[in-house]
Subunit: 221 residues, 2 copies
DNA sequence: ACAAAAGTGTTTAGGTTACACCCATGA
DNA sequence: TCATGGGTGTAACCTAAACACTTTTGT
């Protein structure tokens, strides 16, 4: 730690995670139920304090391991909240990250330290959240919507190979509006970000071609 | 401060400011020359530690007052840097903000505490920067460019009333490429964000109509 | 054979680009 | 009168939106 006279402040630094997935045709977010004060019994974002020597991203990944038990997720820094009044216990600066987990990569949520329960909540049916977490969540949803339109993040919500209908559904669920099938396909295919495989989906009806992303990273248009 | 057992980490929290202005047909950034170790003599971003009870944005505004002496600037949080190795003195988490100051709102830069000098540098002629500040600066420039294209932030770099040519120049300087005059005017005017005043510019040649932004806040397209 | 999802083109409207000349003013 | 920046329109192109029927498969 700095030893110079300018180091006035030693606030606690925490990370919070906005973990999204798509399940049951709904966008869902992982929440934990607090087992301790303040906001005991309330639902809140999973998160925790950053340990000495630990990078911010490492800290989030550790929390995700503990609570969501998922790895291989997409992770991106969202915003830092530092209002002195945001935590009744004292000064806590929280760096919020948002994460996307593919449904086929989900384990059951585990309530970790200080949490009595952990669950996925559909965005249309949220409980009251602790602290300023509702505001953080709203910001994250806006960012997710915006980013969906000019990047390839959707890959993080889908299995490795997927049909165009599945991809379209991801867009429709997140943007919360229907899209035209023909226009959607035309646009996505013209972007040259997908590769058609020779695999086809099973199921009760006409099988669909499965595609994979050429580049399993987020790229921008 | 939290007294619970989870408060492992008490890193120092700082803010850094990326202050941009346009002067002499160039995008310029405010830098200070460090008077103390580490990186003594190096140029760096203005910034400092957050004081107890002080909001992050307050801390940046205080630094801006001290070093840039400008108020009424546009201010936006950029990103938080928390790599444990980024400051050789120890753990410092830094929340970077970017600020835009209109050229007609500039005072001379003042070297404040711990700085021996403070200057504007054109982006095309930068010194080597201390810490990870070069990376932060690059990120800020990218954000500025992106935001210029889908928001009205340009207002913050211009005087209250300005000609369309002045506005176009702001775009050209930041995007670092020439724009077509007719297309630029058509597009900007069709957005319905400007209001024509009855004032006209002085100068040696044909006077230009002056415009003002209808809404002196950042709005998005 | 039927139910269900897959797959496929064309037309229209709107926006973006490229491009060159006349105008008003001060010196 | 000349030098300098202010101001204006049109055609070609491209992208986005609206819109409905045929195909393939499992049951």
């Amino acid at each position: 730690m700095p030893k110079t006279k300018e180091t006035f402040a030693y606030p606690a630094v925490a990370v919070d995670a906005l973990v999204f997935t798509i399940q049951g045709d709904q966008l869902q977010v992982a929440l934990i139920q607090r087992g301790i004060e303040p906001f005991k019994g309330c639902w809140a974002l999973p998160g925790g304090f950053v340990r000495p020597g630990e990078a911010l991203e490492e800290a989030v990944k550790r929390e995700l391991q503990e609570e969501v038990g998922a790895d291989g997720v997409y992770l991106e820094q969202l915003y830092t909240f530092g209002d002195p009044e945001r935590d009744p216990r004292g000064r806590v600066i929280s760096v919020a990250y948002f994460a996307l987990v593919a449904a086929d990569n989900l384990r059951d949520l585990k309530a970790s330290t200080d949490a009595v329960d952990a669950r996925w909540f559909p965005l249309h049916d949220l409980p009251t959240l602790a602290f300023d977490h509702r505001r953080i969540l709203d910001l994250a949803v806006n960012r997710l919507r915006a980013k969906l339109e000019y990047s390839t993040i959707a890959y993080a919500l889908l299995p490795h190979a997927f049909s165009l209908t599945q991809l379209q559904k991801v867009y429709e669920i997140i943007l919360d509006r229907p899209l035209d099938k023909r226009n959607f396909r035309k646009k996505i295919l013209s972007m040259d970000i997908l590769e058609q495989t020779d695999r086809r989906s099973g199921g009760a009806h006409r099988p669909a071609s499965l595609y994979i992303f050429k580049n399993r990273e987020v790229t921008f248009f």
